[in-house]
């Protein structure tokens, strides 16, 4: 079984976003970066599939040299190979998908895994774009994945207010959602071993720009409201305000 997992390097969730001087990207000063959390779930799932069916897990990330940190983490978690598709420029989701699709198509994997979305741009596009570009079936927001020896797949994906049970066949693309598994922490041994594992580097194929960013801005700040009161005694006043002032109930 050949398993490809695509991963991204993003600001951690506690980051307070500051707009950069170019007004289209963030100020990276003092920002900690990490593997996008859904991508960790995808890596973990890849490792579990490999452990069951044998084969190899290859992680791919498209971006600058900084992405090596996230690729190293995946190596420390136990993946077999890491590939960096280098491009220092910021791409739109379509451009990222084009670069990844070219590489994945050459690898001919059985299973392709992504996180359900990268938590920087929250586009939730790349995995499904890659699937369509490669003519593969895809299941997004997957919380349960069952692969069978004959290549058939039963999985569950989250939708509003419930789950869909989806049937498909390998090769296929899956976008991992929280709940699919609990990603492992890299062991000390894994971290040490990852330091000596090579990261294959190649230039990402040039891509078209289909969506351009005009500006990155902060949302209008919400005005702090008021403390209605303390303890249960404040409840009648709160309900009156919601009823009369906000007119919600």
């Amino acid at each position: 079984m050949k398993i490809v997992v695509c991963i991204n390097h993003v600001p951690d969730t506690e980051t307070r976003i500051k707009i950069g001087a170019d007004n289209v990207s963030i100020d990276r000063a003092g920002v900690n970066f990490m593997m996008s959390p859904y991508d960790e779930i995808a890596v973990e799932e890849g490792l579990r599939i490999r452990d069951r069916f044998k084969g190899e897990v290859i992680v791919i990330s498209l971006g600058s040299d900084l992405h090596k940190e996230t690729l190293r983490k995946a190596l420390a978690m136990g993946v077999d190979r890491a590939v960096l598709l280098k491009d220092d420029a910021q791409r739109d989701s379509f451009g990222v998908a084009q670069g990844l699709a070219a590489e994945i198509s050459a690898l001919k994997p059985d299973v392709v895994l992504f996180g359900r979305q990268s938590i920087d741009f929250d586009d939730a596009q790349v995995g499904t774009l890659v699937a369509e570009m490669l003519g593969l079936p895809s299941v997004a927001v997957v919380v349960k994945l069952e692969l069978h020896d004959d290549g058939s797949v039963v999985c569950e994906r989250e939708i509003e207010g419930g789950h869909e049970v989806v049937l498909t066949r390998l090769p296929a693309v899956f976008l991992a959602q929280k709940g699919l598994n609990e990603p492992r922490y890299p062991s000390l041994k894994g971290i040490m071993a990852a330091k000596n594992k090579p990261i294959e580097e190649k230039a990402a194929l040039p891509a078209e720009v289909r969506v351009t960013t005009l500006a990155l801005r902060k949302p209008a700040a919400k005005n702090p409201g008021r403390i209605v009161g303390t303890d249960a005694a404040a409840v009648p006043d709160l309900v009156r305000l919601l009823h009369e002032e906000a007119k919600i109930i």
Binding site: T13, I119, D122, T168, V211
Partner: protein
């Protein structure tokens, strides 16, 4: 120019986000002098497709085919792209629901289009659109322009308005030839979770955090939610602790929500949580720490023990609603 708006139906009913999408697309069509065509895909959908006329669609196309009784993203995407091509659509709008987000990238590739996803505002400039979309879970907004000839947009649920008017639409059936290869993945079954609205679609959300002290106290949240017809949300801390299922998680690694009212119970307000819910229209916070960051963005706050406040709040709301 022609604009196509895809309306999602489940179980013979349109989702509210579909009405929002059709109405927002109608607004754009109106502003740039384009024709709006609404599109419904499924089995048995032509019978009720006319309802979209009340949200501004003069024409509704129904791809009504028994083969589509089970949802398949590949077949649905093909139907949307084929109709868009036949109609010469310059723009395609879909709701940024789980179904819409799953279809839009495939439709965009088929139409050689760029895709702006999860838009929360659309501004027309001549015959073009500048779309605003939240990034970093709402910590910032990106203004984007789609550069391709055909443009695809998904619109975040609960942001655009949907008001039923008295417009009428003619329903035309369109036949798309499907082959077995078009059904790469198919839905076998839909499992409904709780019957409460999902947090991404709920008009009101009652959400609990660590201040709830333990999973055994969340019945207080559920009671208030049921009195209000609300969805139940949770902070990352309580989901990670296993107190609540992950599909309730609100925040950067959960769901980003925009309800009319968000009631934060025992949630202090970590950066990643605030990012996911600060675009709520009204925020109520109940927390025993008066310095909790949640009070910085709350419209109304009560400083106190949430476990004591919640039962009284449920009773008081019940009284107000005359239940």
């Amino acid at each position: 120019m022609t604009i196509l708006a895809f309306a999602e139906e489940r179980g013979g009913k349109f989702k509210k986000s579909s009405f929002e999408t059709v109405q927002a697309a109608a607004g754009v069509a109106n502003a740039i002098g384009a024709e709006l065509v609404a599109l419904v895909v499924g089995s048995g959908v032509a019978a009720f497709a006319g309802e979209l006329g009340r949200y501004g669609a003069a024409r509704v196309i129904a791809v009504d085919d028994p083969a589509l009784a089970s949802h398949s993203n590949t077949a649905f995407a093909k139907a949307i792209a084929e109709v868009a091509r036949k109609e010469g659509a310059d723009m395609v709008f879909l709701p940024a629901s789980q179904m819409g987000k799953d279809l839009a990238p495939r439709v965009a590739v088929k139409l050689k289009a760029g895709l702006a996803s999860d838009c929360v505002a659309l501004r027309t400039e001549g015959s073009d659109i500048v779309a605003a979309r939240p990034v970093y879970a709402g910590k910032a907004l990106l203004d984007v322009r789609v550069l391709t000839a055909v443009k695809v947009f998904t619109l975040r649920p609960n942001v655009f308005t949907a008001t039923a008017g008295d417009g009428k639409a003619e329903v035309e059936k369109a036949a798309i030839p499907f082959a077995p290869a078009d059904f790469g993945a198919t839905v076998k079954e839909v499992k409904v979770a709780t019957g409460r609205p999902d947090v991404t679609e709920a008009d009101i959300i009652v959400s609990g955090g660590r201040g709830m002290k333990g999973p055994e106290n969340f019945h207080l949240i559920e009671t208030l939610a049921d009195v209000l017809g609300a969805g139940v949300g949770a902070s990352r801390a309580v989901v990670d602790a296993g107190w609540r299922p992950h599909d309730e998680q609100v925040g950067q690694t959960g769901k980003t929500v925009s309800p009319t009212l968000y009631i934060a119970c025992g949630i202090s307000g970590a950066v990643q949580h605030l990012a996911g819910m600060s675009s709520s229209k009204y925020i109520v916070a109940i927390n025993k720490d008066k310095d909790a960051p949640i009070f910085q963005i709350a419209d109304y706050g009560i400083v106190g023990d949430v476990l004591e406040v919640l039962p009284v709040l449920s009773a008081e709301v019940k009284k107000t609603l005359g239940k």
